[in-house]
């Protein structure tokens, strides 16, 4: 996993609530057996008319050339529904490193963190402020300080992340490395029970 410390970037606004993982990556694209290449199908049915790559829907944010960057801003309860990690893979493959919302679904949050995509939960009011910004305005997300800053105004909020997860992100470790380093405890547990 890539090490993450500070991400400063413009963003894509997606002011929709309850974005479920079926929207992020529809089931028909789950037949792949590797983790790569999901980005081109990210939000597939919102992105193209009749599933046709030559007909992008002009009003969908990923198709609007004025937007770019590594941050996605979305309405509350982002990532609900299916546990498919393909949702996190498709966001990562498209180039997102941070998702900002006022609420995240549990399984998605874990899946994102396990792939080095940071879910940043902010208040409804802060989210609204970000939605009001222009397309060239930037945000700065600092993992170490647990802060998100609207650069143009300097307004800032802190966000929750466990110390453990923070260490993982900053060092590029994942949970499997950690679990494997605890093999002796696991074996002892098995013997005892």
């Amino acid at each position: 996993m890539e090490k993450l410390t500070i991400i400063k970037s413009t963003f894509y606004p997606l002011p929709i609530e309850n974005v479920d993982t079926d929207q992020i990556i529809p089931a028909r694209f789950l037949k792949a057996t590797t983790r790569d290449g999901f980005g081109k199908n990210l939000f597939r049915d919102w992105r193209y008319i009749n599933n046709d790559e030559t007909q992008p829907k002009p009003d969908f944010v990923l198709n609007q050339p004025q937007y770019h960057g590594q941050i996605l801003i979305a309405g509350k309860n982002f990532g609900c529904g299916s546990s498919r990690e393909h949702a996190a893979w498709s966001l990562l493959d498209f180039g997102f490193k941070v998702i900002v919302s006022s609420f995240f679904a549990d399984i998605f949050k874990n899946n994102a963190l396990n792939n080095g995509v940071v879910p940043v939960m902010v208040t409804d009011a802060f989210l609204e402020k970000i939605f009001q910004l222009g397309c060239e305005d930037t945000l700065t997300v600092n993992i170490e300080d647990q802060t998100i800053i609207i650069d143009i105004t300097g307004e800032e909020e802190t966000f929750e992340i466990s110390n453990y997860k923070k260490t993982c992100l900053i060092n590029g470790y994942d949970d499997i490395d950690y679990l494997l380093s605890n093999k002796e405890y696991i074996e002892a547990f098995e013997t005892a029970s």
Partner: protein, 466 residues
Amino acid sequence: MGTTLFEKIWDKHVVKTIPQGPSILYIDKHFIHEVTSPQAFSGIEKRGLKVYRPKQVVATADHNVPTINQHLPIKDALSRIQVQQLKDNCEKHDIELYGLGHPYQGIVHVIGPELGITQPGMTIVCGDSHTSTHGAFGSIAFGIGTSEVEMVFATQCLLQTKPKLLRFNIEGELNKGVVSKDIILYIISKITAAGGTGYFVEFAGSVIRNLSMEARMTICNMSIEMGARGGMIAPDETTFNYIKGRQFAPQGEEWERKLGEWKELKTDEDAVFDKEIDIDAADIQPMITYGTNPGLGIAINALIPATESIADEGERKNLVQALEYMGLHGGQTLLGTPVQHVFIGSCTNSRIEDLRLVAEVIKGKKKNANVQVMIVPGSQQVVAQVYAEGLDKIFIEAGFEIRQAGCSACLGMNEDKIPAGDYCVSTSNRNFEGRQGAGARTLLVSPLTAAAAAITGVITDVREIL
């Protein structure tokens, strides 16, 4: 202070806790399927590891399999490769696979309980959000992502933060025409699709105690649709009687020993939950959803909320978008709306009791000529039982199509898809945009309400034809 059912099981499975961090939780049973496992297998192989405890893993092929002609090679190349990879991976890692053609094959959350693999007190995971189903047996069961599947392969453990606990107490008498699917759709409509996030749920009360095991599974199955990590029900005689004698149930002395342990699995009187919600069964009517998340549900004879009546701007926008997608409008009734498809299946409602409910409603009747009705039993064993009980004759006579076991139109990954713009009255668990096929419009209901729509061709209050 007493402890909850959840805490009793959790505490027994904690290997180690990281200070101010998650715990290492030991996993007893790990179910896998073809769609969310391949990248996990390649992940551990890249690390040079083998599956650590293959005997604790059970595999089946369900999400991406055809539901007709399962004896023939799968036509779609990508699906065929995915199913073949599961087979190769299971062989390589010494994992028991109930693949296509095996008499135990079926939807992972149907076969686990049916084979007696799912037992009280266990920790159970699967790379599928509806793993919550297994909580009906008094186990901690939850869905995980593929990286977590890889963790369990590598160490039989997961890193988990202890969730908050929420209990629903459901008391009273159920109304006529109300079954367990209506109970859970009602609860989700009250608490919303995100209202349970961060919680693990226990369902309790006299209504739950009086339900059969299969009805309990329907309820726990949909806990995830309120955002909860999982749902569970304390095991009792109904649970023990269900498990006894099943293929992988404990036997003899082992059974007695286990039974003794299982009887201890209940929430103490003085245990404290982070939140409790009381539900009066009398308030629950047959339910239907009208929007694009499972929280947007109403009693079948109620009106869809008027969009102007929603104060919160985000919620209102959401509803407007949902109704536009669904081709419906605020303030209207759903009753009488013509439907083109009825889908009876999915890990929520594809067990024999669900199919018996359907058969009871339609016996001697014919489906409406404008509706296509598909019954997809949850497992090969359910299929066998349908034929053994003669339900097949009732279904065929009514003009229903009986398919082979799989997830099918629940997620529209194989060729069982609902065409764009069509309405599908469905016993599955998700009504998301495009869930049953791009542009498909899903209305979630109980098996009874699905059967009623099949007969009349329109959305119908089942109480009128019972």
